[in-house]
Structure formats: structure tokens, C-alpha cells
Point group: C2
Chain length 245, copies 2
């Protein structure tokens, strides 16, 4: 546990948080934390700080919290053709750990319709997985998630308000320039990264995206599974944004 | 199935392969392949080519194989502190898909000893997962896998013969230069990438690696799970090697 995350309502006006769930048990039995010990804490979508243990025992931990800075929201949004539920389940924590502002899940010609029937799309299932990823990466910013069953409506009508006027990239194995070159002059605008379904986007989808300012980028000729591709592309995009001017 | 992989002994002297397992069923029921249809095939650690279906039915497929080029072995080796079995299981296919020549699994101070007792370290378990990743990425080169229970012996006595005289990088969150800058002048030599355990390498391990030509590299301040870190670092390393001179 690199960062103990709290819901905003768990910290009272005096900065005291009382935990009695898995987090308290983790402090007690895994970290063997003792009174007066300081623990790195964060408030979901809020600041990072330090919690000093006032008392711990019987599965209950009392923390006196002081806060420092609030992490900025990530600059990258992810447009992802809905993957198989098993793959999506594995992906939630990794997306949050890598730092994504918004996850825009969409239908596409090569997405199977029954993928939408999974409980992996329910906030009650994915929010704990997102929080797990944030705790791993020491961030507090929960990715915003929306699900879109109509690709065309998403691209034509909804994307501008979701992703703003940032740079838009669509990954295609073996086609297009590198992410670094496509973001060379990005300045301080946002970056939207589109990752297709296992079988790839079809030509209609690619043309619609190109007509809406998407630039094709490639990591090379290897075709990767959705989750591998997402992690690889997010790593490259984060790296490129650091080097961009 | 992007590439149908065959064991070398499955192709006879006339180039005929007779399949009667899950691959034949996949051709028949998922791809609905018909006689005369051409399928992209590859021989494990051998060439890529085309298989023309001579006959298919009742779970048996006969292919007439012709071969083209043999993919080169990947330039990257991965030195990985043994992750939790659950994480390692997820990682095998992704490592193969991203292209790794050699996977060197090692003990470290922060690796739990019982991680070595898993059947995920048995070739019978990991080889099919590696092949799954190769089929995804259209490669035939099976990563070589070795397991080392003594970190110091590995670094001092075994690494030179395993990884040769290539560039050696060790990933540390928040410390070190970027992979791109650390590989700027790599030329055509190999690259060895070291990824630590969940809790990180300890100081002894880092010093021993530095004494054996490892350079610290970082993807930024975020701490990632082993599998996420491996995929992210391999993507960055592949990308850097493309741009390096």
C-alpha cells in the first residue's frame, strides 16, 4: 500500500479519520503500524498528506490527517473500444495507475454486443479497482468513466464536450507516425488516445475519426491485446508529454 | 488468431501439417475456414509463411505450408524480480507479445520465498502462454526463460553469459534518466532491462547492479505494479531502440 486513500466524507472537520475496514486491517496486520506512526494518505479527488496514527487495534484505526498539495488531473483521456470483460477487469487498476483523466468506453463494429452486459461496467465493481491503481501509483484522481453504445454519436456529437480541443491520436498497428512525433508540438493542450477492439477499427470508424481530427499513430507492426496496447500506449504518451514543448 | 503457430516437428518434409487440436477447431468453428483458404502460419523459433488448407472437418485440418522469412530474435532481455504468481501468469503472454529475447527471473530481498513454489514457473504452464502472446503479435521467437534463486550469483557470475555486453538499465520510480536518453547511443548492441519487486530493489541490490554496468532509468514518479511496469518499460524500450542510432 503506497498511499492510503480516504473518501472525502471519512475525514471530519478536525481532520480525524476513523477506519474500520480492510484498510485498518492492512495497517494493523500487514504494515504492523503503531500509534504515532505516520502513513502517506490521500483524499479521493483531493489532496495528498500524512495521517498520524492516534490509535490502532481490533480492526479500527484512528488517524489525524494533515494535507499538502492536490495532484493535478492527468492530461490524457483514453477512448477505448469496449474489450472483453475479463480484459477490462484487468485494465481498470492499470489505467488508474498510469494516470488517465477520462475513460471513454465505446461500441465499435468489432466489439461483441454481449460485452456490454458485464458487471465490470458497473461503478460498484470498477471504482474499487480504480482506487487500487491510484493507491499503487500514489495518486488521488479517480478517472471519469462513461460508456457509449453508439460510436458515431460519440464521435460526432459528444466527443468535443468530453475531450475538448486537445490532440487526438488513434493507434493502428503498423500505420502512422510515432506518438512522440505526433505530440511534438502539443504545447499544454490535452491528449486523447484511441485504442481499438481486438480486430481493429473498421474503415468507416477510422475515416470518421480522421474526419474528427484524429491522427494515426503506431508502436510498430506487432498487434497487441487491448490491455497490453493500452498500457504500452499510455506509457508512451506520458513519456512523450514530458518531452513535448 | 493473428498467426497460427506450429511446432517444428508438426511440419513434415513435404511441408504438410496435420492439426487435430484446439487450433483445428479454431480454424473450423471460429474462422470458418474452407479448403484452399490461406492462413498466416509460423513455426516456433522458425519462419513465418502461409498455410493453404487442403482439407478441414471433424476437428482435423490439413495445411500445405510455404515459408518466407524468419523473424529476428528480439534485441531486449528482461531481468525481472519474481512477481506474485497471479501477476506472473498475466505477464507471460504480454512479454512474448511485446518481444523479449530472454526472461531472467530472479530472487531479491523483497521477493517472497513462496513465490518460487508456483507452477507458473513450469514450462508446461508458461510455454502455452508465451505462444499465445506470439500468436497475438505475429512472432515466432519464444522467449528463453531462466530462474535464479541467488541474486548476487546471477549478477556477478551469470549475467555476462546470459545478457552479453549490451546496455543495462534498471528501472527506479522517480530516479534516473529516461529510457530514450539512456539508449541514445546504443548502436546495434542488445538492451537488458531490469524491473524490481513490488517493494523495489534494496540498496545492496541497486549498488551491485550499478557496479555491474546498470544505469538507472525512470518513467516518472508513479509506482507501478510489476506487470504494468514491465509492459510500460518494454514499450518505451522498443520505441527507444527504433529511434536510437
Amino acid at each position: 500500500l503506497n498511499l492510503l486513500l480516504l473518501e472525502p466524507e471519512e475525514v471530519d472537520a478536525e481532520g480525524i479519520a476513523v477506519l474500520s475496514d480492510a484498510r485498518a486491517r492492512h495497517l494493523q496486520t500487514i504494515l504492523r503500524a503503531a500509534p504515532n506512526q505516520a502513513v502517506r494518505i490521500g483524499v479521493l479527488d483531493g489532496p495528498i498528506g500524512v495521517g498520524r496514527l492516534l490509535a490502532i487495534g481490533n480492526g479500527v484505526a484512528n488517524l489525524a490527517c494533515t494535507f499538502e498539495h492536490t495532484p493535478p488531473r492527468p492530461r490524457i483521456d483514453l477512448l477505448l473500444a469496449l474489450p472483453r470483460p475479463k480484459v477490462l477487469r484487468r485494465l481498470w487498476a492499470q489505467i488508474a495507475a498510469l494516470g488517465v483523466n477520462r475513460v471513454i468506453l465505446t461500441n465499435a463494429a468489432r466489439v461483441e454486443r454481449n460485452y456490454f452486459d458485464t458487471h465490470v461496467l458497473e461503478p460498484a465493481v470498477y471504482r474499487p479497482l480504480l482506487i487500487e491503481g491510484l493507491q499503487q501509483a500514489r495518486d488521488t484522481r479517480v478517472p471519469l468513466v462513461t460508456v457509449h453504445r453508439q460510436f458515431r454519436v460519440l464521435i460526432e456529437d459528444e466527443l468535443d464536450s468530453l475531450a475538448g480541443d486537445g490532440r487526438r491520436l488513434v493507434a493502428e498497428p503498423g500505420r502512422g507516425e510515432s506518438i512522440a512525433s505526433a505530440t511534438m508540438t502539443i504545447g499544454s493542450t490535452r491528449l486523447l488516445l484511441a485504442v481499438g477492439p481486438e480486430g481493429g477499427w473498421n474503415e468507416f470508424e477510422l475515416q470518421l475519426m480522421r474526419a474528427h481530427r484524429f491522427i494515426g499513430v503506431s508502436m510498430g507492426p506487432r498487434t497487441l491485446r487491448s490491455d497490453t496496447a493500452c498500457v504500452a500506449l499510455l506509457a508512451l504518451a506520458n513519456d512523450a508529454l514530458k518531452g513535448a514543448t
